[in-house]
Symmetry: C2
Subunit: 229 residues, 2 copies
């Protein structure tokens, strides 16, 4: 019997790699989708290729020249990605409507593939305050997807799976380790250098490092700066 | 007083040009957004420039290499755009999740501009059976937009305006003529040639032609084939 197809929003980071392992384990034929959207940490696209190759899945990378549609520290050369600032406000690394845009393109891809399942690695726990990582956003997108597409109208309803939605970073890492994920292949850092070395200081690094510590699992991340605390 | 900014999904066709005139008339500072998404009828992008110039608004055209995310007769060179087939089924000119993708990018642009209003020229009357032109789709997108963005979370709620939603093509044309729209500048045809001549036979042409006839307004469209009936 053919496995059901699923599209996965895939960055090559810790979260989406865990979701890749999870979706494969659930028996899906997974089609990861990555975006070259002008992010400064383009080295994550190399991680995405590395991970896709390790899992023997076919990666589709979309060029998305967001141009004047950005304004985020993740894409603008005149804005710096800051050190960890806690989760008290929506940070400058917020990219306007990013998950809406990415999920919309995943929906288009799903419809072309005939896939009814879309996986996304968002978490509402360690989410750095992004509005488009919350359960109500994911639910609203699923409602939209089932109104927007020919396949849904024709009775093939679409499910948005966000298996990390209620998990902390430590729980995500524990899930991935149980599925034999090699996190050394992944990059989460917003300021990773050309060698793929993580800064150890940005929001993404701090949450990841703390996740390994709380999970009691050795952190395989290669840091450019070793942060003692 | 500064006019409020609004983003408009803009193709250079009859509908979105009417909405441009309408939004300007309502007092908005309008930012039209066009997409070069691999459509074969790329000549519509020239019409978009022409209309934007006539209305003295600044057009932003986004390159969106949808690549493997298509499968529509509007983008695939191995599929032909058929002659008018009535509205009995979703036609092959359906582009998977197109309005979802376009509205998502309009939402990103709106957030960057600080615009709370997004205009789109969809109609549920003469909509050729596209699922993403229905009132329930527009409503679901507005719900999503107000959950997805930093600006909405911070109290700047977003409105999706679809002023043509309940209008027939003839009513749209009457609205545009009352606003002095010069429809000779616009292109609606899915098979328009390099000179911008309309085929007169595709769904889009037949609906447009019938609209002028019912409205009792002289059709200024330049057709490659003059269709006698």
């Amino acid at each position: 019997m053919n496995k059901p197809k699923a599209v996965l929003l895939f960055s090559g980071g810790l979260d989406s790699t865990t979701v890749l392992a999870h979706a494969l384990h659930q028996g899906f034929d997974v089609y990861p989708l990555s975006f070259d959207y002008g992010q400064k940490h383009k080295v994550e696209l190399q991680a995405a290729k590395r991970v896709a190759s390790a899992f023997k899945v076919s990666l589709n990378t979309i060029q998305l020249a967001l141009g004047t549609l950005t304004g985020s520290a993740l894409t603008d050369t005149d804005k710096c990605v800051p050190d960890f600032g806690g989760a008290q406000a929506i940070p400058v690394t917020y990219v306007p409507a990013r998950n809406t845009v990415f999920l919309s393109l995943a929906l288009a891809y799903a419809e072309v593939l005939g896939a009814r399942d879309i996986f996304v690695g968002v978490s509402s726990v360690d989410y750095s305050g992004y509005p488009d990582c919350r359960p109500e956003f994911i639910h609203a997108f699923e409602v939209l997807a089932n109104l927007a597409t020919k396949m849904a109208i024709e009775g093939q309803s679409i499910r948005i799976h966000a298996p990390l939605l209620y998990l902390s970073k430590a729980q995500t890492i524990q899930m991935g380790c149980a599925l034999q994920v090699d996190y050394a292949l992944t990059i989460s850092c917003y300021r990773a250098d050309g060698e793929g070395l993580a800064c150890g200081l940005c929001d993404s690094c701090v949450l990841r490092k703390e996740g390994f510590r709380v999970a009691g699992i050795l952190d395989p991340t290669r840091y450019a700066i070793f942060n003692e605390d």
